[in-house]
Symmetry: D2
Subunit: 234 residues, 4 copies
Amino acid sequence: MNDDSRREFLKTSAAVGAALAVGAMAAGTATAADAPALRLAYGYQHAPVPCHSIRKASRDFREADPVSLENNYGGAVRALNTLRGRLAAAAADANTPPFVYTGLKREQLLRTGSVVLHEQYFAGLGGNGQAGSAMRSRIAASFGSYDAWEVEFRKIAQGLAGGSGWVMLGYNEALGILENHWMADHATAPAHTRPLLVLDMSEHAFHMDYGAAAARYIDAWFANLNWETVAARA
Amino acid sequence: MNDDSRREFLKTSAAVGAALAVGAMAAGTATAADAPALRLAYGYQHAPVPCHSIRKASRDFREADPVSLENNYGGAVRALNTLRGRLAAAAADANTPPFVYTGLKREQLLRTGSVVLHEQYFAGLGGNGQAGSAMRSRIAASFGSYDAWEVEFRKIAQGLAGGSGWVMLGYNEALGILENHWMADHATAPAHTRPLLVLDMSEHAFHMDYGAAAARYIDAWFANLNWETVAARA
Amino acid sequence: MNDDSRREFLKTSAAVGAALAVGAMAAGTATAADAPALRLAYGYQHAPVPCHSIRKASRDFREADPVSLENNYGGAVRALNTLRGRLAAAAADANTPPFVYTGLKREQLLRTGSVVLHEQYFAGLGGNGQAGSAMRSRIAASFGSYDAWEVEFRKIAQGLAGGSGWVMLGYNEALGILENHWMADHATAPAHTRPLLVLDMSEHAFHMDYGAAAARYIDAWFANLNWETVAARA
Amino acid sequence: MNDDSRREFLKTSAAVGAALAVGAMAAGTATAADAPALRLAYGYQHAPVPCHSIRKASRDFREADPVSLENNYGGAVRALNTLRGRLAAAAADANTPPFVYTGLKREQLLRTGSVVLHEQYFAGLGGNGQAGSAMRSRIAASFGSYDAWEVEFRKIAQGLAGGSGWVMLGYNEALGILENHWMADHATAPAHTRPLLVLDMSEHAFHMDYGAAAARYIDAWFANLNWETVAARA
């Protein structure tokens, strides 16, 4: 922190501390009835969504990985909720150097991605794997054919199979284009993109049931896709 | 590529090649009149948006960096347009291993982020830096106060100042929350988030005019913000 | 690729093609007797080291994860060997844009890290977990005490437990300092640092046997450390 | 932090706090006479090395970027020195969750890389750009020819030109192989590799003098390489 930024920070930090205290008081666990805009940057506490039960109930998935997935997702929710308090304290402390603060922000971004993407992964399951004709046409219009889309999607998934990460079919709101994306971790994502479909390639999503045989996990995922929820987001 | 995935790939690659050829024929440089859904995953060619002229015309920015920014943005557009052709060829070649394909996908993601974020950065400039009362209230409702928001935003920017990256004020559509985010590079982003405001902390955005004095660049950026375009996205 | 770099590249690419062809002919699977300096940047083919049998034979590790680890390590070796051929072809092709080439280089770096780190992880096992007094003293001299070192090492491992990555105790040859490092993936590492001890926090290293209970895996790893191999590298 | 890890941490944290206090007392700014092994993981304070004067004195580099480089390098040294104190405090606090601690460790790794790599970049300059015959032969033995090496090195540099990062010619001590590596940021590196030559592709290294014309900067760097220092590290 150079002299200029320290000076500026000291000027505002007292006011910030007071503002954050108000924020913390107003916060609470969100419910469906909350108006989104009232969720607090420093105070919001996320309640885990029980949609992982969808995967547990899906054909072709056995018991081991759903439990592991649930633990992993639950851990991300708890970490994210703790991080907000840490961020509020660090932001209100005039001695926090920017490079210490960004360490916390990276962890927040990572857990935010984990929570959002796991919830969309869970919500996309529980179906029979058959895409309706409208979605097939829409995909074909972008990728040349539905099969060409699936080939690319599977290839990206296989390329991540030895590590971890996500594959996303997303609509880029800024460029107006429907594309598949490789995402190396929870903090990697295409900016300003609405996910239609996400596949979790973390080993906790398949390793206990399928080991290194990622292709069989990907098959099971395709076979249990709920294309109605996909279409609802498209 | 294991035997299973190679076999599956060979089955579909002939069809894919044909589909992509059709896609390539149908493609062309997009215009404002294009229906977004028709933009092709492998064939779309992005036309650079001339909004960087907004920064050139802004008070408090001198000439050197806008030129550098334009070169940088233009390079990302050209790279992205080239990458689509490379991806189409690699996807249609049955011998492309997944880990080679994901190398291309990472570069595509990186350039997609660069194009999207630079365009939003340019579009957010050209104003007088005064946020309207509606935006101030909305920000205060999330961050405790408008000042608390600005303190965090500046601190993240300072934490990135020795390297590169972006700061984003974004609305997370999945969690219903307005937050600032640290983004280490063009491929780092919060998933499913609509950007309201992005600040380019790449050295090409400020180094030629401000050197290592990032705080003065951040001041200039705040002073030239066009809060009407921000409000229009909110 | 701008005009300047393209021109320069065209000048040298014929010579490069010839040189790489010679390299490819001279290459072969390396054996222990190879002089290191003769291993070819584009032609070297790595032979998997059978040291993963050490983990299989270790107390406190069951059967499932060693098999998974071996598959994962073997896949990295195969990918790396394939990538060298792809790099040689791309380097010799005057039409390869730099941003396509760097996609391949990232994948090479990732697999190089996977091979090197897995081999050191395997080689560090098979012992009784008791550090000798020389290593305890050396660690205590850097960290204040042996226990302080272990507390930090475990905390880093726990911080990676929900995702993947490595923890390294390494000697930084440039700064002359013995430190623990957090490494997010195979391509993250401290520059110019000799690893003494590496812990694999990839889920394939523990998930099948321990699920999300990373702490028990870390206990098992500490209990089976071979401190004599650690001391030999120190 | 789950119950198990919290319990374990509480057991040892009192001892850790005492040990770190001793470490902090023994620490001080290092001098060339310090025995490397006594440098303290939590207490060592790095003194900036004045080797950046080498670049200032080099033909073909003008004044602007060396100053910017020095600021950037100096900032990394100061941040790293501050981070050690933050890490000691966080490690000694039983309430520090692992995911908060790893945020600090990432920032430490990033600054450690910045310090090490900048110092090697500076030390590699000040020469006439002519590699001696021994180094030319050694490089040719790995890459097929010296020219093939240079073509790959330049291509990697061009691929990083729109963002930031490093190119390294390094000897992988574990695999016994001399290779070029793409490094996306200060925290990206090949594990267990001794750098012979590093090129800084951060925009602060060239933007003020060369703008987006990275190829001319790379030319200037090659023309001023001190191959004697490279050979001394080989």
